[in-house]
Symmetry: C2
Subunit: 207 residues, 2 copies
């Protein structure tokens, strides 16, 4: 499809829609025309959802989860075990683990993984705040729940080296889920099992 649309407004809307990952220009046009069929107040609500999100969103001071308050609902919950921290790459992993109903501790969002190829080092991630949490609190366990690829393993090993001297039990989720798969796309049973069957981090190194 060339850009022979008779409207600059449509062009701009399609440009913006197709800026989303995985949305091509044909799909974008279909979505834009679907929006255009709606009432004005519906489109206003659609658009303001994203501007409001950006303007008002906070990040939990403790775990860096996305939150409406200073502390997220998980860190704030009295029914969650504050002595157990599950380290994840981003908030989608929290949602995925929460949906298994197999984990009752709290989280720590790294915001990425160590990736020299992309120029991401330990200082670009929320690692120092994790170490602070580990030093401050009577922590019993840190569960590393990162992807099973090179970057995930590197980051996990880096964290293990930082946390092990603090006499904290460092575990990693069981590789019940396929290596290299995204946590968020794993089925809930496998992901739940991988939480239950977590093993000492040192064991995973031996393999």
């Amino acid at each position: 499809m060339n850009n022979s649309s008779s409207s600059k407004l449509i062009e701009e809307a399609v440009d913006q829609m197709s800026s989303l990952p995985g949305i091509g220009r044909k799909t974008a046009l279909r979505l834009v025309l679907n929006l255009l069929e709606r009432e004005t107040h519906e489109i206003d609500r659609f658009s303001s959802a994203f501007t409001k999100l950006k303007a008002q969103i906070k990040f939990c001071e403790k775990c860096r989860n996305i939150s409406d308050e200073q502390l997220c609902s998980i860190c704030n919950s009295k029914s969650r075990d504050q002595s157990q921290i599950c380290v994840v790459q981003d908030i989608r992993d929290i949602l995925a683990i929460e949906s298994t109903s197999q984990y009752f501790g709290v989280y720590h969002v790294l915001g990425g993984v160590i990736s020299p190829m992309d120029g991401i080092g330990p200082n670009d991630l929320n690692i120092s705040s994790l170490i602070e949490r580990a030093e401050e609190k009577a922590l019993k366990e840190v569960i590393i729940a990162l992807k099973g690829n090179m970057e995930g393993e590197t980051t996990g090993f880096y964290l293990f080296r930082k946390l092990d001297p603090l006499n904290i039990k460092v575990t990693t989720i069981a590789r019940g889920i396929a290596v290299g798969d995204d946590l968020e796309y794993a089925d809930e049973i496998s992901l739940g099992r991988s939480i239950t069957n977590r093993s000492p981090y040192s064991d995973s190194m031996a393999k």
Copy 2:
């Protein structure tokens, strides 16, 4: 994935994103988080593209194409043959036909097809304005370029019955494209050929 997100703002953004056709909640979350990583001004631009589109978009007074002006760029063009009207279901079909560079007339957008099952009758479509254009102008030809399904055929036949008494040549695009396929997804060569090889409407009825 359940709705255990710790943020009502995220929930609302995901709700809105997944209101788009073909976007599930997992994909919506991925898109929303992608947006959230952008700068505020980028998100403002994203959002305003859709509100501006709805507020400022016009429909061409002649052909009902989407337009920034009273007349769309095609109806306004002196290089287009105004005596030849191609009747399409919606503006995506115009974009598809334009991309073939095989058609030099003008268009008329019906805004749908006759579909008793969905309660859409001839009066719900831009048919009377088409008849007016046919009566007013020294029209030579109306090309019916609708889908090859029941509703498209019914609508085409309805138009033929209305236009034939006006001594206008009524043609239909050659079924070079697979029956039942959407015009917008056809490859440009087949679609271009179907414009070139259009046949008298009465022929298509005989088959």
